[in-house]
């Protein structure tokens, strides 16, 4: 195999592997930008995975599967939102509770489907589809434009999210809420509404990420199918400094790391588990670098993790 084809192969795999990460990361970016730290990403992904799989299995319709996964993720997020916004509960504990609940829920509902495979109609919908012209570009074009439909959705959603966040009025309001909710409140922005909506949106995206794992990556139902990717996503959000454009790069990079191990094994004696460590090490380095630099940009949203209520005395 020549170098070009290996490179193409790796890049393609990176994008495919990185897509569920991308969805989850985008979801958590939105949630954190509005000031909430939701550590329940793994739980929401698992809920999305199991409900998505179940829906696709019973209806044979892939779109229904993805949609169901989205809704499941949102439901999980709704619990978190209700607890932390309306009932002012501690965000870290609430998020972890969601993960525990989501994991249990997924195992429980999934056990009935253990080992079952998705019907042809569903699997066929996720076969890579080449985009004419763009897909003919060597290496990059092949890797980026010869993918399944969810991967393409990933590109679109990431770009839309970036524009939404940085260029629209609602995005500006959202960012104000996450940086200084008191200021947003005085400006007439409905802080609770903005938080609720965007937490749910974030949950929906995490749900899609989970559904991707159960519908595309693995042919039959496996318990714990997300394999901790939810936690990687939490790390990724910091790694890409809450920027949706960078999230694409970050997700695919981490995706690359996960498959690179297999291929470099023959050239370098580094085992897979060490490669698995790299994303986490990389995130730690980013954490340290952010805390060393005094720049005011690229920081976590100022009010991240803090509850907001107006009558404070």
């Amino acid at each position: 195999m020549n170098f070009i084809s290996i490179l193409t192969f790796v890049l393609t795999g990176a994008v495919t592997a990185g897509t569920p990460l991308l969805f989850a990361t985008l979801g958590e970016i939105i949630t954190e930008k509005v000031g909430q730290l939701n550590l329940g990403v793994e739980g929401m992904m698992l809920m999305g995975a199991v409900i998505g799989f179940s829906a696709a299995l019973s209806t044979g319709n892939p779109a229904v599967g993805v949609l169901a996964g989205m809704i499941a993720g949102s439901c999980g997020a709704l619990i978190f939102a209700f607890l932390t916004i309306t009932l002012r509960a501690n965000q870290i504990v609430s998020g972890l509770s969601l993960t525990i609940f989501g994991t249990g829920f997924s195992s429980f509902v999934g056990q009935k489907m253990a080992g079952q495979s998705l019907p042809e109609s569903v699997r066929n919908s996720f076969i890579p589809v080449k985009i004419p012209l763009l897909g003919d570009v060597p290496v990059l074009g092949d890797a980026l434009f010869n993918q399944n439909i969810l991967v393409y959705s990933g590109y679109v959603i990431a770009i839309l999210l970036a524009i939404y966040l940085l260029k629209t009025r609602i995005g500006l309001n959202l960012r104000t809420v996450g940086e200084n909710p008191g200021s947003a409140d005085t400006a007439g922005i409905n802080v609770s509404l903005y938080k609720y909506v965007h937490i749910l949106l974030g949950g929906a995206l995490c749900g899609i990420g989970g559904a991707y794992m159960s519908l595309v990556t693995v042919p039959s139902w496996q318990d714990g199918v997300t394999g901790g990717r939810g936690w990687i996503a939490v790390a990724l959000v910091i790694f890409v400094t809450w920027n949706p454009y960078k999230a694409m790069l970050g997700a695919y990079f981490f995706g690359a790391l996960s498959i690179l191990g297999l291929y470099l094994q023959s050239y370098l004696p580094i085992p897979q588990s060490i490669f698995d460590m790299l994303p986490y090490l990389a995130t730690i380095i980013v954490l340290i670098v952010i805390s060393l630099k005094k720049s005011k940009e690229n920081r976590p949203p100022k009010a991240l993790g803090e509850p907001y209520f107006r009558e404070e005395r």
Partner: protein, 509 residues
């Protein structure tokens, strides 16, 4: 002056648990009027304004805007009624630009970033003489610039009624005059302005009518022409108060603190203190005057060992303590007490009771690894009696006490350690008149014992009457050290703005 009534408030009441913040307040503000709400700290001014701006909801009472009965449940309601509030602590997002802060939350185009928006902002700036750069990030702005952004923000949102909460707290006398000019222009344009303050001289200068609040109640509403400072003070405190504070004669002794060429640099590599030199003698009160943020905080903390020093000397009785932290200073046997501005955030542990707070410094003197609390408990009871501290119990969290009592706890603890050098920052901020006088007496007591006191304060009248000398600091530099008996407030104000003492008071002052 147009006599159309813009705002009418009838019997507005607001409680927070057992505390009655506003009790049957009545107020009327006309169109095209500058109306001052005058009152001591804790008189209920801020609560009233927060209700007008929709942040708090009243327990009972009625608000009329332009004759219509309204219910202001959210800031949005208030804004839609044309009320624009400018808070003492700015509600700005640091990482966004001025323009982004101004348009946030407003209705308008889906996409932001067009030139048209900047235009509207520029028009407002020109009309009222408010200079801002719409694309500048807030974290790059000075305090005065930030306040300007707040004003533009509020006007942009269509405010016809402006409420300013202690707007001059962070401004020099000269910046204050600029602000007042802006307010006069707005008044001409037909806006109503409510200014909340406790500074009598400003009230007499800028307002048309004045409403005085005391202990949550409306005392009186008067026209400016019909009143004067003394009458207003009487209304504010309820009895004729002898404005003079007892100043004990200073017995000139040894130099206890010698600060030489002290330079201190903050996080952003800006010089917070620039080549500061001064001496403090025992039995003397040296006041420090300056606009908030001129370096007072850094000065206190540098001497107390809480702030890293770039260069210079700080000598306590000829021993250089630069580079030592509080623990070292205690170990060296130096008895220095620092009463910080931030009482609950630095001086005390808010969630602990008096007993645990008494332990804060003295626990290190106990032997062994266990803590013994009996002595602290005895001290707490002693202080309660001596300083008339009102608290449900010695184990009750101090955060639930009133501002005055919190300060008494803090001061009490520090004075008990019999310091030779006492540094105190804004000790009477937030205190009622009686408590303030108790504090002045306490300080004079210490002065008589021969303690050297560094007093950072904001009330120039108090500084002139209580202190022996006054050091004026501006942008980290000393602009002058004057004898308190020989300087007046205007001169201090000019020095606070950066004028050198020789220019202000002549050579040889």
């Amino acid at each position: 002056m147009n006599n159309e009534v813009y705002i009418k408030i009838e019997n507005l009441t607001k409680t927070f648990g057992p505390v009655i913040a506003n009790n049957n307040i009545c107020l009327e503000v006309n169109k095209g009027e500058i109306h001052a709400i005058l009152g001591e700290n804790g008189s209920g001014k801020s609560t009233l304004m927060n209700m007008l701006s929709g942040i708090y909801t009243p327990d009972s009472g009625v608000i009329y805007i332009k004759g219509k009965h309204v219910s202001l449940k959210t800031p949005k309601d208030s804004m839609s009624m044309g009320i624009g509030m400018i808070h003492q602590h700015f509600k700005l997002v640091e990482v966004l630009t001025a323009k982004e802060n101004i348009i946030a939350g407003q209705k308008g185009s889906f996409f932001v970033g067009s030139k048209k928006l900047s235009e509207k902002i520029r028009k407002i700036s020109e009309k009222f003489g408010l200079t801002i750069d719409p694309d500048k990030k807030i974290y790059n702005m000075s305090v005065g610039e930030k306040q300007t952004v707040e004003i533009v923000k509020v006007i942009y949102r269509g405010a016809e009624i402006l409420i300013l909460d202690e707007p001059t707290a962070v401004l020099t006398p000269q910046e204050t005059e600029s602000l007042f000019n802006i307010l006069r222009k707005m008044k001409q344009a037909g806006s109503s302005i409510i200014i909340i303050t406790h500074k009598l001289n400003e009230v007499m200068e800028i307002s048309d009518r004045i409403t005085v609040l005391r202990k949550g109640e409306t005392i009186a509403t008067v026209n400016k022409e019909d009143t004067n400072a003394t009458e207003l003070t009487n209304l504010m405190v309820g009895r004729a108060v002898d404005l003079s504070i007892n100043r004990i004669e200073k017995k000139n002794n040894e130099i206890i603190l010698n600060v030489e060429n002290l330079t201190v640099v903050d996080d952003e590599k800006v010089k917070a203190l620039d080549n500061i030199s001064f001496k403090l003698a025992t039995g003397e009160i040296l006041g420090v005057a300056g606009v908030a943020g001129s370096g007072q905080k850094e000065l206190c903390e540098a001497i107390a060992g809480l702030y890293p020093i770039t260069s210079g000397k700080i000598e306590y009785k000829e021993e250089n303590i630069v580079g030592k932290n509080p623990r070292d200073i205690i170990k060296m046997g130096i008895s220095m007490s620092f009463i910080p501005e931030d009482r609950l955030g630095m001086g005390l542990v808010a969630s602990m009771g008096m007993v645990d707070n008494m332990l804060l410094k003295e626990y290190q003197n106990q032997k062994g690894i266990f803590i013994e609390k009996k002595a602290a408990k005895d001290l707490s009871n002693k202080l309660i009696k001596k300083l008339e501290i009102s608290t449900p119990g010695v184990y009750h969290p101090v955060r639930q006490l009133s501002g005055g009592n919190i300060q008494k706890v803090l001061l009490g603890r520090e004075i008990e350690s019999n310091p030779h050098l006492l540094i105190t920052a804004y000790p009477v901020r937030g205190l009622d008149i009686n408590s303030s006088y108790t504090i002045y007496d306490l300080l004079n007591e210490q002065k008589e014992k021969g303690v050297g006191i560094l007093y950072i304060g904001e009330d120039l009248d108090v500084l002139i009457e209580l202190c022996d000398r006054i050091l004026v600091i501006c942008n980290g530099k000393i602009t002058g050290i004057a004898q308190a008996t020989k300087v007046n407030k205007e001169q201090l104000g000019l020095m606070m703005a950066g004028e050198d003492m020789t220019t202000v008071m002549g050579v040889g002052a």
